[in-house]
Amino acid sequence: MSESTDPQITELDPVIHAQARLRVVSALSVLRDADRITFPRLQDSLRMSAGNLSVHLRKLEEAGYVEVTKTHHGRTPATLVRLTRRGRLAFDDYTAALRALLDPERTEDQ
């Protein structure tokens, strides 16, 4: 199977087609709709540096896929992250597209 030259694979959502952002969105997809996770918890889980995660979150935020809110837990400032409805939809479409690439016959039947 050819890779980047494959027309099907280049049609995949470019925002989350980058490995790091796919990882971020995958992790966030575990949270239920209105739930938010703290930045350090997400960072630990993804084993990314804070700077790196910030950069990718900004790109995802620009695409409207995640929502980043600053708040306070008592006196300490906290950053909370959540996947938006749009982000969840994009993630679902992306995984469906991957499955279709793996098993084209089954999706043709549907």
Binding site: H17, Q19, S26, L31, D35, R36, D44, L46, L102
Partner: protein
């Protein structure tokens, strides 16, 4: 892994799907309280505490091992209070990192346990003075185990957790069997099958998350 590497798309869909599953499993584990911490302390409290009660207050009032009368109850109370602290801390540590409906559900669920147990304790304290020692013991143990079973089932419904739901069903079932078999035996059945059930459920839950 550098940024440049991160920005590269994965070529192979199967690899991408595996990556997605890996990250989902990681986060799931990071935001779920460790089932061992949630269930083992209670399982061991029941197993140890109720076995001591069985040995001291056996079937038909027999004393199988001549322990001081206060020892089994004090042991059970201390173990249960420790279990409450351990599970409360483990649950609370998670809820500091996730906010929203799920952590609110967790808080309400935790409070429900405390309120329900306090309510029954007040009732049983008033009633137990008027009952013979063995019946009073059965009232306390049978009532609390029934409540635990029901709350585990509720937890199963709340978190859509089949394992927790079946633990509740199992606990409720062995409680009724113990009550029907009678005083003394109830302690042994709940110690082994109930406490053991929680230890097994905690282990299964942990293996699933790992």
């Amino acid at each position: 892994m550098g940024t440049s590497d991160d920005d590269l798309p994965l070529g192979d869909p199967a690899e991408s799907l595996a990556l997605i599953e890996r990250e989902r499993a990681n986060l799931e584990r990071d935001i779920t309280p460790d089932p061992r911490l949630m269930l083992w302390p209670w399982g061991f409290a029941w197993l140890i505490g109720l076995t001591l009660i069985f040995l001291r207050y056996g079937p038909g009032g027999r004393i199988l091992v001549d322990l001081p009368g206060w020892l089994p109850l004090v042991t059970l109370m201390v173990l249960m209070i420790s279990a409450g602290i351990i599970t409360g801390t483990a649950g609370g540590r998670i809820s500091r990192h996730v906010s929203g409906p799920t952590s609110r559900q967790g808080l309400y669920y935790g409070v429900t346990w405390s309120v329900a147990f306090s309510g029954l304790s007040v009732l049983f304290s008033r009633l137990s003075n008027q009952l013979p020692e063995a019946e009073s013991g059965l009232l306390w143990a049978g009532g609390m185990v029934a409540l635990t079973g029901a709350l585990h089932m509720t937890g199963g419904a709340l978190w859509n957790d089949r394992g927790l739901f079946f633990l509740g069903v199992w606990t409720s079932l062995i409680n009724v069997i113990g009550i029907l078999v009678g005083t003394g035996w109830h302690s042994l059945i709940v110690a082994v099958a109930g406490g053991g059930g929680m230890i097994v459920a905690g282990t299964i839950g942990w293996l699933r998350l790992r």
